[in-house]
C-alpha cells in the first residue's frame, strides 16, 4: 500500500509532538557508527568481486581540442593490460546535480585541462596505472584561443531582480556602502576519491559507486550507456563524503561500466586525488559588488548584489550567489544581478552550500562596514534590518529564528555590545578581535519515497535508495520511524543506498532529511491507520510506545496486533505549494574571535559560536555535527581554500591536498553550537528544514569582520591569506 501526499499547505498538526516514544530529536549515536569506527563499513571500491580488473583513467594536458588517435596496441603489449576503453559513450564531465541525463559526451572532445579521454584496464592496479601513464594520445589542439580568464570575456546576464531605483537610493542614503569582493574557487575534496566497481551479466549492470543521489544517477548512467534504467542497479550504502561532488555521476562510473560490459568481468575504477581535483566539480570563483543604502538609523533603503561567476560552455549551472540576498535583509530599492562567463576550466557545479557559501559572507562584510558608518553595534544593525515579509515577493516567512540566533548567539559568545573600533586589544604580536555574521540558506524539498515494514516480531524496517554521506540519515530515518511506531532506535533497521529500494530524494541541497524523513513519516501514518483499523479504533485515539499500542485504558503488544503478519507502506512525499506560498529558509548567526599577527598577517581563529534555527531537530547529535562541519568549512573558506589556475595554460596548479588547503586539526578551535528549536509547518510534513549547509552560509564573513576588528585590515578578497591581510593592514 502507499500513502501519497503533495504538500500544498502548511502542516500545522505537528503530529510528531503528539507521539509518545520520545526518540525523535534525541542525541542518539549513529546506528552505523560501530562499523565506521572499526573500519568495517564498506565503501564503493571495497566490495569484493572475483577476478576484478582494475581501471585507471587517462587524462590529457590540453585545455581544448579533439583526440585524433590513441595508441592502443602499444598499451596492450604492456604486462597485464587487457583493454583500452575509448568508447564514444565515455563521458568527459561530471553530471550536474539532479541532471538525470548523460553528462557531456564524447570524452574525446576536450574542453578543459585534465579531462579524461580513455580508460586503461589491467589485471592489477599497478599495471593499469603504469600503462595509463604511458598511453600515447594524439590531439588536434585548439587551445590558443580558448578563454581562461573569467574577467576577460563578455558574460551572459541572468534575469535580474529589480525593485525601485537602487542608484537613486544610493545618492539619497545617509549611510552607504559600495564594495567589490572576490572569492576564489573551491573544491569539495571529499575524503573518499570517486570510485566505482561495475559488474555486467549480459543483461543488467550493477555498480557499487560513491554517489549522493541514486535515482538521478541511475538515469544519468543508463542514458550515458544507452541502457534502460531498469538495467542499472546502483549500490552506495556508505559514501565517504560528497559535498556536491557526487551529486551527479563522473567519469569513473561510466568508464568502469563500459569496461565491464565490454570485458564481461567486474571492473573497478578509482580516481586519483589529482583526477578528482582536475575533473570533478569546482565551485566557481566570484566577483561580487554589494551596495547598501541606509537612512540615519541604519535601516536599509536600498540593497544591491551583483555577481559574476563562470562555467564551461554548454553548462546551465551558475553558482547561485544571490540566493539568500533575495530575502535576508530589507531595502525597497533592490537590484540583484548574476552573470556567467564562459571559460575553459573544469565543470563548475555544486560544492557544499552552492550560492550562500560565498554569497552571504560578502553581504555580511558590507553590513559590518555599514554598522561602522552608522555608529551602530553590528548585531543591532542586523536586528534593525530583518524584514517583516519577503522584500521582493510580498510573501510571509514560514518561520525564522534570525533575531533569536543573533541575540542568543551574542549572549553565549559574550559579545561586547556597542559600535566597533578596530585594534582595541593586543597580545604580544597578535591583534585580537571579534566579528558577527548572519546565516541564511534557502530551503528545498524534493520528491521522495520510502518503504516501512512493521515485521511480525514488532521491529520495523525502513528502506529507500536515499544515501548517508555522513549526514546521519541512518539515525534520523530510524528515529522518525521509531517515534511514529513506538519503537526504540534499536528496533528499527534502516537500509539505504540501493536503487532496488524505493527512490528517495538523494543527499543534496540540505533537503535529504526533510524530504526522506517526510516519506518515512507518511509511510508510518499509513501503518498507524492499519494498526488502528485492526484494533477497531480511530487512528487519532492510538498511541504507540515501547512496542505497545495504547488507547483509552487499553494496552496491547504490537506483536499481538500484527498476529504474525507483517504490514508495510510506501510513503510518497511530493513538494507542493506550501514552499511556494512562503519564504522558507533556515537562519542563524555566527560569532568568531580571531588573532591576527601584526608582522606576518597570519590569522588564527580562536573560538567560534554558531546559533541555528532550521525547524524540527531530528537528532541533536548529528545536527550539531553538521553545524560543526559547516563552521569548519567557514574557516577554510575565510582563510585558506583557493583553487589556483595557471593563466597561461589553464591547468589547476594546486590539485592535491598538500596544495589545496582544507582546514586541519590545528586550524579548528573549540566550536560552540546552539540549536534553536522551531516548527516550520510549511517546510515539510515533519516541520523540519535543512542543516547540512547552513553552518557554512555566512561564517567566513564573521571571521573577515573579526580580522577587521582585530587589526583594522578590511580585506575584500577570499581567502584572507597572510599576504592579503598584510597588504590591507593599516600603517599606524
Amino acid at each position: 500500500m502507499s500513502v501519497h501526499r503533495k504538500q500544498d499547505a502548511p502542516d500545522e498538526r505537528n503530529v510528531l509532538d503528539t507521539t509518545k516514544q520520545g526518540v525523535l530529536g534525541e542525541p542518539l549515536e549513529r546506528p552505523e557508527g560501530l562499523l565506521k569506527v572499526t573500519g568495517t563499513a564498506t565503501y564503493a571500491a571495497e566490495f569484493d568481486a572475483e577476478n576484478c580488473l582494475e581501471g585507471v583513467l587517462v587524462t590529457v594536458p590540453v585545455v581544448r581540442g579533439k583526440v585524433t588517435s590513441i595508441d592502443r596496441e602499444s598499451a596492450l603489449q604492456m604486462p597485464g593490460v587487457v583493454a583500452v576503453i575509448a568508447d564514444e559513450r565515455l563521458t568527459g564531465r561530471a553530471a550536474q546535480g539532479m541532471a538525470g541525463e548523460a553528462p557531456f559526451q564524447p570524452a574525446q572532445q576536450v574542453c578543459y585541462w585534465g579531462q579524461p579521454v580513455a580508460l586503461v584496464v589491467a589485471e592489477s592496479f599497478e599495471e593499469a596505472r603504469d600503462a595509463a601513464k604511458h598511453l600515447a594520445v594524439e590531439i588536434d589542439e585548439d587551445g590558443d584561443e580558448a578563454p581562461l580568464d573569467p574577467d576577460a570575456v563578455e558574460a551572459e546576464q541572468r534575469k535580474p531582480t529589480k525593485n525601485g531605483d537602487l542608484a537613486h537610493a544610493m545618492t539619497q542614503a545617509v549611510h552607504s556602502v559600495d564594495a567589490t569582493f572576490t572569492t576564489d574557487g573551491h573544491a569539495s575534496a571529499a575524503m573518499e576519491p570517486h570510485a566505482a566497481m561495475a559488474q555486467w551479466d549480459g543483461q543488467s549492470l550493477t555498480v557499487h559507486a560513491s554517489l549522493q543521489m541514486l535515482k538521478f544517477n541511475r538515469a544519468e548512467l543508463a542514458d550515458s550507456l544507452n541502457l534502460k534504467e531498469e538495467q542499472v542497479r546502483l549500490i552506495s550504502p556508505y559514501v565517504g563524503g560528497g559535498f556536491g561532488s557526487k551529486l551527479g555521476i563522473s567519469e569513473e562510473a561510466v568508464g568502469a561500466s563500459l569496461a565491464a560490459m565490454e570485458l564481461g568481468k567486474p571492473v573497478r575504477v578509482v580516481m586519483s586525488r589529482q583526477q578528482v581535483f582536475q575533473t570533478v566539480m569546482r565551485r566557481s570563483e566570484t566577483t561580487q559588488r554589494v551596495r547598501l543604502a541606509a537612512d540615519g538609523e541604519g535601516r536599509l533603503t536600498g540593497f544591491g548584489h551583483e555577481a559574476r561567476v563562470s562555467n564551461l560552455p554548454g553548462e546551465e549551472f551558475a553558482e547561485p550567489v544571490l540566493q539568500s540576498s533575495q530575502f535576508l535583509y530589507g531595502g525597497d530599492n533592490r537590484l540583484l544581478q548574476l552573470e556567467v562567463a564562459r571559460i575553459h576550466r573544469m565543470t563548475a557545479g555544486s560544492v557544499r552550500a552552492p550560492g550562500e557559501a560565498v554569497g552571504v559572507q560578502t553581504v555580511e562584510q558590507a553590513m559590518d562596514m555599514l554598522a561602522e558608518k552608522a555608529g551602530l553595534d553590528p548585531v543591532e544593525l542586523r536586528l534593525r534590518n530583518i524584514p517583516d515579509k519577503h522584500p521582493a515577493k510580498d510573501k510571509p516567512y514560514s518561520s525564522r529564528k534570525l533575531a533569536e540566533c543573533l541575540r542568543e548567539g551574542a549572549s553565549a559568545f559574550g559579545w561586547k555590545e556597542g559600535p566597533r573600533k578596530p585594534r582595541h586589544t593586543r597580545e604580544g604580536e597578535w591583534w585580537i578581535g571579534s566579528g558577527v555574521a548572519s546565516a541564511a540558506r534557502i530551503h528545498a524539498v524534493v520528491e521522495a519515497k520510502a518503504r516501512v515494514t512493521l515485521r511480525p516480531d514488532g521491529t520495523a524496517l525502513v528502506e529507500t535508495d536515499m544515501t548517508d554521506i555522513g549526514t546521519g540519515t541512518y539515525a534520523i530515518l530510524g528515529q522518525v520511524a521509531g517515534e511514529m511506531l513506538g519503537l526504540s532506535l534499536d528496533d528499527v533497521e534502516v537500509r539505504l543506498g540501493d536503487t532496488d529500494m524505493p527512490p528517495g530524494s538523494g543527499s543534496g541541497g540540505s533537503f535529504g532529511a526533510s524530504s526522506c524523513g517526510s516519506a518515512v513519516f507518511l509511510a508510518c501514518e499509513g501503518l498507524r491507520d492499519t494498526l488502528a483499523e485492526k484494533l477497531g479504533i480511530e487512528a487519532s485515539d492510538l498511541s504507540l510506545k515501547d512496542g505497545f499500542a495504547l488507547w483509552e485504558d487499553e494496552k496491547k503488544a504490537i506483536t499481538e496486533v500484527l498476529d504474525g503478519k507483517a504490514i508495510e507502506e510506501i510513503g510518497h512525499f511530493e513538494p507542493g505549494k506550501s514552499t511556494e506560498d512562503y519564504a522558507v529558509a533556515s537562519f542563524g548567526a555566527f560569532f568568531a574571535e580571531v588573532a591576527v599577527n601584526h608582522w606576518t598577517g597570519e590569522t588564527r581563529v580562536r573560538r567560534m559560536t554558531g546559533a541555528f534555527g532550521f525547524g524540527r531537530v531530528l537528532n541533536a547529535r548529528t545536527a550539531r555535527s553538521q553545524c560543526l562541519g559547516g563552521m569548519t568549512w567557514c574557516i577554510g573558506n575565510a582563510l585558506t581554500e583557493s583553487l589556483l589556475f595557471d593563466p597561461t595554460d589553464g591547468h589547476l596548479a594546486n590539485c592535491d591536498l598538500a596544495e589545496y588547503h582544507v582546514p586541519v586539526h590545528r586550524d579548528v578551535p573549540d566550536l560552540e553550537v546552539l540549536l534553536l528549536e522551531e516548527r516550520d509547518a510549511a517546510a515539510s510534513p515533519i516541520q523540519a528544514k535543512g542543516v547540512g549547509e547552513l553552518g557554512l552560509c555566512g561564517g567566513a564573513g564573521a571571521i573577515a569582520n573579526a580580522i577587521y576588528d582585530a587589526c583594522g585590515a578590511r580585506v575584500f578578497a577570499y581567502p584572507m591569506t597572510p599576504d592579503r591581510v598584510l597588504a590591507a593592514m593599516p600603517e599606524a
Binding site: 549515536e29 549513529r30 557508527g33 560501530l34 562499523l35 565506521k36 569506527v37 572499526t38 573500519g39 568495517t40 563499513a41 564498506t42 565503501y43 571500491a45 571495497e46 569484493d48 592489477s124 592496479f125 599497478e126 603504469d130 569539495s188 575534496a189 571529499a190 575524503m191 573518499e192 576519491p193 556508505y238 559514501v239 565517504g240 563524503g241 560528497g242 559535498f243 578509482v270 586519483s272 586525488r273 554521506i469 555522513g470 549526514t471 546521519g472 547529535r621 548529528t622 550539531r624 555535527s625 560543526l628 562541519g629 559547516g630 563552521m631 569548519t632 568549512w633 592535491d656 591536498l657 598538500a658 582544507v662 582546514p663 586541519v664 586539526h665 590545528r666 579548528v668 573549540d670 566550536l671
Partner: protein, 166 residues
C-alpha cells in the same frame, strides 16, 4: 620472513610497486585502511608499523619484511571495539567515516608518543614532558584530514580516552 598484519602472517607481493596501503586493501582484504590521496597528504591510510604510526601509502609493501602491522581491524572489532573506537562513537567523532580509521590509528599511537615524551611544534618547553593540551592534540593530529569537519568532536574523543587512562 613474511609481514605480520594484526597477528596474521602474510607473504609479501611479487610486484615491488605495491604500496603497503594497496597490499592491505587489495591483497590482505583489509579495507578498513583508506586511500584518500595516495601521496601522504591526508592520513586516511594511517596504520601502526611496529607500534609507530605511518602513512601506509608512502611505503612499499616489500620493505616491510618481518614487520608487525596493526590496522584499524587489529585495534578492535564491532564485537570488541577499542577504547578509542568507543570514544569516537560516543563523541560523534566522524561523519562520513572515511578518514575515521586513520584518525583512530593515529590517535592511538599519538597518545603513546606524548607519554613517551616526544615533543611537537606545540610543545612550549622542550626540556619538560609534553602536556596533554588541546593544542598538543591538534598539532599532533594535523596530518589526519577530515573534510566533514568533525575535528572538534575528534579532539573531545581523544581527550576522553587520555583522561581515562591518565
Amino acid at each position: 620472513m613474511p609481514i605480520t598484519i594484526n597477528d596474521t602472517p602474510h607473504d609479501l607481493p611479487d610486484d615491488p610497486r605495491v604500496s603497503l596501503l594497496d597490499f592491505l586493501r587489495s591483497h590482505a582484504g583489509l579495507t578498513g585502511t583508506k586511500k584518500g590521496c595516495d601521496h601522504g597528504q591526508c592520513g586516511a591510510c594511517t596504520v601502526l608499523v611496529n607500534g609507530v604510526r605511518i602513512n601506509s601509502c608512502l611505503s612499499l609493501a616489500v620493505t616491510h619484511d618481518g614487520d608487525e602491522v596493526t590496522t584499524i581491524e587489529g585495534l578492535g572489532s564491532p564485537v570488541s571495539p577499542s577504547e578509542m573506537q568507543m570514544a569516537f562513537l560516543r563523541h560523534d567523532g566522524f561523519q562520513c567515516g572515511y578518514c575515521t580509521p586513520g584518525q583512530i590509528c593515529s590517535a592511538t599511537a599519538m597518545l603513546k608518543e606524548i607519554a613517551a615524551g616526544w615533543p611537537s611544534d606545540a610543545t612550549e618547553d622542550l626540556e619538560a614532558s609534553p602536556q596533554l593540551t588541546g593544542e598538543e592534540i591538534r598539532e599532533r593530529m594535523s596530518g589526519n584530514l577530515c573534510r566533514c569537519g568533525a575535528y572538534a568532536n575528534i579532539v573531545a574523543a581523544i581527550r576522553d580516552v587520555a583522561g581515562e587512562s591518565a
